[in-house]
């Protein structure tokens, strides 16, 4: 008896979902896929470290509703992105578009990698030169070495 009560109570405390569940009806599977991609890639303007999919804030709910409306109306991806950006700025995209403002953002990682690799190569090259240099002998020293080795071999 106790076990059944425990089981029932446990089942009543369902685990929390990591995403907000909204029941929007879509006309096609493709529309629902587009919606899902968008809510993952749009930032909530209020809770700025969450995307629209994970945010509980009222503005996120509003934006999800607008997104649903636009997808139902058949608007293109570009039109939807323009809608969001013209109201909340480029920051609302998790994948910002490439233009004069964001080009530094996109190129900086590449630049840093190149600088890092370049520095590493320079350091290795210098180190190798330093290691090889003093080890080579002058012509006189080589003759002495040869003489010594021949002496050794004779014994």
């Amino acid at each position: 008896m106790n076990r059944w009560i425990l089981l029932t109570i446990t089942l009543l405390f369902s685990s929390a979902a990591l995403a907000v569940v909204e029941t929007f009806e879509f006309d096609s599977e493709q529309q629902r896929k587009r919606y899902n991609v968008f809510i993952e890639e749009l930032r909530c303007p209020k809770c700025q470290n969450q995307n629209l999919s994970g945010s509980n804030s009222p503005i996120a709910a509003d934006l999800r509703r607008e997104l649903y409306r636009m997808i139902q109306e058949g608007q293109s991806d570009d039109a939807i992105v323009d809608f969001m950006v013209s109201r909340y700025g480029e920051f609302v995209l998790y994948r910002p578009r490439l233009d004069e403002n964001t080009i530094i953002l996109w190129l900086a990682p590449v630049l840093f990698v190149l600088i890092g690799v370049g520095t590493a190569l320079i350091v290795i090259y210098r180190h190798r030169k330093a290691a090889v240099g003093p080890a080579s002998l002058s012509a006189e020293e080589q003759a002495r070495l040869k003489a010594l080795l021949d002496e050794e071999a004779d014994d």
């Binding site: 303007p45 209020k46 804030s57 009222p58 503005i59 509003d62 013209s86 109201r87 909340y88 700025g89």
Partner: protein, 187 residues
């Protein structure tokens, strides 16, 4: 000469320290404030009811003079904090228009009756559509709109005396001069 290269990390540290210090010193620094995407663009078209009268308000009602557009709601505690200051500004003659954002009109009317009404008129945005078109993401927010209905400044957060003195008052004065200049030059 090679010795100087040893100081490179120190130099970089000093440079970064100076930059970070500048940012920390700035009292206005708000890392989550989104710059308005509507700067220098006109207020979007809308037609919404007024809170305190029967008429319909459109974006044309926001032209003709420089106004502060204050986004507020009864569910917003910070709005209550900034309200007394808005009352003071209104008494000094500053034109403030209210945007009642996603709120209950009855509660809003009661609120204004209890706390005073600094607004020339209040727009009722019950479903938040105008707010969404303006890029509002929370209350309170205040926009400065010039005489042609163009958004010139947006502040996210409470309007207080410091903000008024440092940013809003000079901006309003400048925009009013602009408006006077334009009015004078039209034949």
């Amino acid at each position: 000469m090679a010795r100087l290269k040893l100081f490179l990390p120190l130099l970089m540290f000093v440079l970064l320290a100076v930059i970070f210090w500048q940012v920390l010193q700035d009292e206005d620094y708000d890392p989550s404030a989104l710059p308005s995407a509507l700067l220098d663009r006109p207020v979007p078209a809308f037609e919404l009811p007024a809170l305190l009268s029967e008429r319909l308000i459109s974006e044309r009602d926001l032209t003709g003079q420089v106004v502060l557009l204050n986004v507020w709601a009864t569910w917003c505690p910070s709005c209550r904090v900034e309200h007394p200051f808005l009352n003071r500004l209104a008494q000094q003659g500053v034109a403030i228009v209210g945007l009642n954002y996603k709120d209950e009109s009855d509660a809003a009317r009661q609120w204004l009756q209890n706390l005073g009404n600094p607004y020339r008129f209040v727009i009722v945005d019950a479903d938040g559509r105008l707010g969404l078109d303006l890029g509002v993401y929370g209350a309170p927010e205040t926009y400065v709109i010039d005489a042609r209905g163009v958004v010139r400044f947006k502040h996210v957060g409470v309007v207080d005396a410091a903000l008024w003195q440092q940013k809003l008052q000079p901006l309003l004065a400048q925009l009013q001069q602009e408006q006077a200049g334009l009015a004078g030059s039209t034949p």
